[in-house]
């Protein structure tokens, strides 16, 4: 086991970025205000001073063109990390992401590879309103040719960023901006979490709560509440949405016979439905009840302080729903 230290999620990602940039000169950063300004969330703080304008490239507010340039650079020897400042803005790069980056390896029969990372800050919170709060990771997960990761802890953020940068294809890296100040143990030195590996974050017997990103923490808090009611909940974090570690998820569900899937994005046509269906296909005979889906409310994320907290499920609601499932009340 490597030694660890306590660090924030933000610092853990930064550590992966600077570590990979030191290892490999082809790793470059592109985005708005990521240079001397250090990023709007201070998520690239210090990299400009360390690596210079040649590698930490401030782009104009031209997401589509700048990302297209990143794709071309990736095809010709660079490993760009492209920042989409707010997750809502991923819509601005969708053509380049879907019609170029995702397909080039396939269309060219691997004559060209597109080793790039799209770094996307998502999440509800801070009253930023309908165009600065969405979590559109399901859009990327729908497209063949993209890998999609969504780390929930500082250690996973560091390890998955390193894995994403080293991957020879496009990886979309979703980080919840409300986790940036979360502090936890982070392995020192070189640390890689393989893409496509889920992790059981808490062992349990009675029910599997499969949760993504920030919702993992909601699930862990709910598991604490459930323990007081003598319900033992297992919490699994897929960590990667594509490829999905189906084996780990299914093994848990076969053990507990009940599952709830929790994700911060929209529920309609979303991540929760895909995971619920996958688990059901593989573990139908072991299930004692239908798999429950809980997502964000299917509305534009409202600005008002009274409404914004209603968008995502909290631990109390999750614990209530989980207890009802376990007791056969739903």
């Amino acid at each position: 086991m490597p030694s660890t230290r306590t660090a924030t999620y933000r610092a853990a990602v930064l550590e992966a970025l600077s570590g990979e940039m030191r290892l490999d000169d082809s790793v470059i950063l592109m985005g708005e205000d990521i240079g001397a300004a250090g990023g709007v969330f201070k998520q690239t703080d210090g990299l400009f001073a360390q690596f210079g304008a040649d590698r930490v490239i401030d782009t104009p507010i031209s997401e589509s063109g700048a990302f297209g340039i990143a794709v071309g650079a990736a095809m010709t020897g660079q490993r760009p990390i492209f920042e989409v400042m707010f997750g809502d803005f991923i819509t601005l790069i969708m053509d380049q992401l879907v019609n170029q980056a995702a397909k080039i390896s396939y269309m060219s029969a691997s004559q060209f590879k597109v080793p790039l990372v799209v770094r996307v800050a998502v999440g509800v919170g801070g009253n930023l309103g309908p165009q600065h709060s969405q979590s559109l990771h399901a859009w990327s997960a729908h497209i063949p040719g993209l890998k999609v990761v969504m780390p929930s802890t500082p250690a996973d953020a560091k390890g998955l960023m390193a894995a994403a940068i080293r991957d020879d294809g496009p990886v979309v890296f979703f980080e919840d901006r409300m986790l940036y100040n979360l502090r936890d143990a982070v392995p020192n030195g070189d640390y890689v979490v393989p893409i496509g590996s889920a992790e059981v974050k808490r062992l349990g017997r009675d029910v599997s709560i499969i949760a993504t990103g920030r919702m993992v923490h909601t699930a862990l808090a709910a598991a604490e509440l459930l323990a007081k009611e003598e319900i033992s909940a297992e919490v699994i974090d897929p960590r990667s949405l594509v490829p999905l570690d189906v084996d780990t998820l299914v093994a848990s569900v076969k053990k507990t016979s009940r599952a709830i899937v929790l994700d911060g994005g929209y529920r309609q046509y979303g991540i929760t439905g895909e995971i619920a269906a996958t688990v059901t296909e593989h573990a139908f005979d072991w299930l004692d009840a239908p798999v429950i889906r809980i997502g964000g409310a299917d509305v534009p994320i409202p600005f008002s302080a009274s409404l914004e907290p209603l968008v995502l499920p909290d631990a109390q609601r999750l614990a209530r729903d989980t207890a009802a499932l376990v007791r056969g009340l739903r």
Partner: protein
């Protein structure tokens, strides 16, 4: 409707050496023959789907690519057979891709709109109008970083002049002084619509000038004029002078795709453009200067004809991709 494009005039360009001039001629004739054959194969149902041919526009691809090294990159568009061939693509492998055969550049899974040729610095033809432009600029960013004086070229049609992506990329190419050429092949029509009907401003060259990019309108039916303009642009790019914008006025002999009835075209206009045919024009110069004879040109055409027919035979005999190829190369 009638096109109000300026008609090109007789070339004032000096002829290069006999070897170079004949190379240009051969390259243009190869594209013409290739496109003629693709049209026949498409009409005959041998090539499935839609193909977009570049007959008439050969001088642009050849005039630019003739000066590029194998390390220099191009990004093509949907009318890209000429760019691929001029950059050195293997005729048989290209034909196989267009016919959907496993021996093609993408195992036959991309087709005419997705021909990639890494060995010759070709970032691909593309089905999205303007989609190749940022890829070329990205290759130029790599070139700038590696310091090997490589240059990248984006080929696009006049249709892409109204894509916002072009202006975003031009802006970044200018501020970062990227070694990239923006080469617009203005054939007068975006799909079925005349450029005048959808393009504001007195002259689209202003769209490059607005970013401080040296910009030039070129007779796109004169391979020597294109080559001379490309030469200036490439020297500037290799010297660190940044991007250049070229608008090459040319004409698409065929429709938007094979099967397009072209009712939007003016017959007199089409006839006038054909009188400026880039291959005929260079052929005349070559004969007048004694670089070649009618017999030599006939022999050359026959030779090219054989090469393209051999490529077709190879492609027809090649296997189709199988179910095993369905998911291959999805992830690098």
């Amino acid at each position: 409707m009638s096109s109000s494009l300026p008609m090109p005039t007789a070339s004032a360009q000096p002829l290069p050496s006999a070897e170079e001039a004949l190379r240009l001629y051969r390259s243009m004739q190869l594209i013409r023959t290739f496109e003629d054959q693709v049209r026949n194969l498409s009409s005959g149902g041998v090539i499935p789907g839609l193909v977009h041919l570049c007959a008439g526009q050969e001088a642009v691809a050849v005039g630019v690519c003739d000066l590029l090294g194998v390390d220099d990159m191009i990004a093509s568009n949907h009318r890209g057979h000429g760019h691929c061939l001029a950059k050195g693509a293997d005729v048989a492998r290209m034909m196989a891709e267009i016919m959907g055969r496993r021996t093609g550049y993408g195992l036959g899974r991309g087709g005419t709109l997705h021909i990639f040729d890494a060995a010759h610095g070709n970032l691909g033809t593309t089905g999205i109008v303007g989609g190749g432009i940022p890829l070329a600029a990205g290759a130029a960013l790599s070139a700038k970083r590696n310091g090997r004086q490589q240059v990248a070229v984006a080929f696009f049609g006049d249709g892409a002049l109204n894509q916002g992506l072009l202006f975003e990329v031009m802006n970044m190419a200018a501020i970062w002084r990227l070694p990239v050429l923006f080469v617009c092949e203005n054939n007068g029509f975006g799909e079925f619509t005349a450029i005048e009907d959808v393009t504001a401003g007195p002259n689209p060259i202003a769209r490059g000038l607005a970013f401080g990019i040296p910009s030039e309108t070129v007779d796109g039916m004169d391979v020597l004029a294109v080559r001379a303009a490309a030469q200036r642009a490439l020297e500037r790019a290799r010297d660190g002078g940044g991007p250049t914008f070229l608008i090459c006025n040319t004409y698409r002999y065929g429709g938007h795709h094979v099967g397009d009835k072209q009712e939007y075209k003016d017959d007199a206009d089409a006839k006038a453009w054909r009188q400026k045919d880039p291959i005929e024009r260079l052929g005349r110069r070559l004969r007048e200067s004694g670089f070649t004879t009618d017999e030599m040109i006939a022999a050359l055409k026959l030779d090219i004809d054989k090469e393209v027919r051999a490529a077709i035979d190879l492609a027809k005999a090649a296997p189709l991709p199988t179910a095993d190829d369905l998911e291959a190369h999805l992830h690098a």
